[in-house]
Structure formats: structure tokens, C-alpha cells
């Protein structure tokens, strides 16, 4: 299993850029890196996914160095509504299937 390690929590202020780094030293060649956002009492929601280099969409950017042993989720100009838990996932191709394991996540608290 490709285990992930993230900071437990982070604080930020509205309008700032937030970078959350995830370590995944044992990432496998075929694994993709995926980030999810979870609000209280809701299921996680997909944010972004990448394999290497940089990926950008309308809500975030994902930076992955060449060795792929870590990744950084970048949230530009956060607002109060970005307060949530953010999970970094690395796909594990188990025998006959795909076992998706969530880590503890990073609690982001955005202040006014």
C-alpha cells in the first residue's frame, strides 16, 4: 500500500494561497495522486488528480515533482467556504482490483 502523510491541520486567512503537501514515498509506477475535499456531514468531493508535473483546474493546482514521492495541492485565494478536510490519495492496484485508502487528511481552517 502506498501510504500517505499529510499535516494534521493548517490555518489560513481569506485571500491567501494555501499549499498542502502530501508525502507518498512508496508510490507505485501506475499510481495516480488524487485529492478530495470533505465538508462536515458530507461525503468527500473530488478536487483534482494528476500523475506527474503540474495539473490545474478551475479550483486548484496540483504539483508533482519528478520523483513523485510527494505532491502539493495549491488553493489560490481561499475563502471561508474552503474550510474543510483535504485528503490526498494514492491508488493501490491490489490483486484483482483497486483498493482506495484514505489517510487522516488535513483540516484547513480559513479565518476572516
Amino acid at each position: 500500500l502506498a501510504k500517505t502523510t499529510q499535516p494534521i491541520s493548517m490555518d489560513s486567512y481569506e485571500g491567501q494561497e494555501v499549499n498542502i503537501t502530501c508525502s507518498h514515498n512508496n508510490i507505485a509506477t501506475n499510481d495516480y495522486i488524487t485529492w478530495y475535499q470533505q465538508f462536515p456531514s458530507q461525503g468527500p468531493r473530488f478536487i483534482i488528480q494528476g500523475y506527474k508535473t503540474k495539473v490545474t483546474n478551475e479550483v486548484a493546482s496540483l504539483f508533482i515533482p519528478a520523483d513523485r514521492k510527494s505532491s502539493t495541492l495549491s488553493l489560490p485565494r481561499v475563502s471561508l467556504s474552503d474550510t474543510a478536510v483535504y485528503y490526498c490519495l494514492v491508488g493501490d492496484q491490489g490483486t484483482g482490483g483497486f483498493k482506495t485508502i484514505f489517510g487522516a487528511g488535513t483540516r484547513l481552517f480559513v479565518k476572516a
Binding site: N30, G43, F98, T100, F102
Partner: protein
């Protein structure tokens, strides 16, 4: 488009009772998952399925059973409920391995007293 639908949303069980949490998806996804989330904690994988007729254990399968007789449905069975199974249960599905996003249901909050 309903996505992933879970029922019931809330349930209170007595110790020793059994129940089934239902999960249905209408996206024709092959991969389906059951997670539990205890208060303030991350999600733990209970069971997953890569297609009809195929299931496998996740991180915390003890006390649960699943079946996958159709592509759409992936029920989770709790036998002999215990207080330690008090949690929020999420069902999820995805199109394929490694790529593609997981789609989650709204969750089922279970309390065992």
C-alpha cells in the same frame, strides 16, 4: 441524475441487532466501496468491489458483510451490531482503477446503543 444513493440516512440499532445499509449507483460504475468515518477521523475502507460477483476486504471488514449481485447495488450488512460500529457510513463508486474520481453518497449515520 441520482449518482450514488444510500438508505437509510439515519438509523438507531440496539446491540445485537442486524441491518443492511443500501447503496445504489446509476452511473454504470464497476468499482464500488464502503467506508466508515468515526467522529473527527478519516475514512476507513470496509469492503470494496470491482464488479458484480466480486468483493474484497478493506482495512476494517470485521463485523460486516457485503454482496454485489448487480452492477448497481452494493449493500453492506451489519451482523450483531456493537457500539463500536456507531459511525457514518459512506458508499462510493468510480468508473475504473487508478484514474477517475470517486463519487460518494450522502452517508448513513448509524448509532448502536
Amino acid at each position: 441524475n441520482a449518482g450514488v444513493t444510500q438508505t437509510p440516512k439515519f438509523r438507531i440499532l440496539k446491540i445485537g441487532q442486524s441491518m443492511t445499509l443500501q447503496c445504489t449507483q446509476d452511473m454504470n460504475h464497476n468499482y464500488m466501496y464502503w467506508y466508515r468515518q468515526d467522529p473527527g477521523m478519516g475514512l476507513k475502507l470496509i469492503y470494496y468491489s470491482v464488479g458484480a460477483g466480486i468483493t474484497d476486504k478493506g482495512e476494517v471488514p470485521n463485523g460486516y458483510n457485503v454482496s454485489r449481485s448487480t452492477t448497481e447495488d452494493f449493500p453492506l450488512r451489519l451482523e450483531l451490531a456493537a457500539p463500536s460500529q456507531t459511525s457514518v457510513y459512506f458508499c462510493a463508486s468510480t468508473r475504473g482503477a487508478n484514474t477517475g474520481e470517486l463519487f460518494f453518497g450522502e452517508g448513513s449515520r448509524l448509532t448502536v446503543l
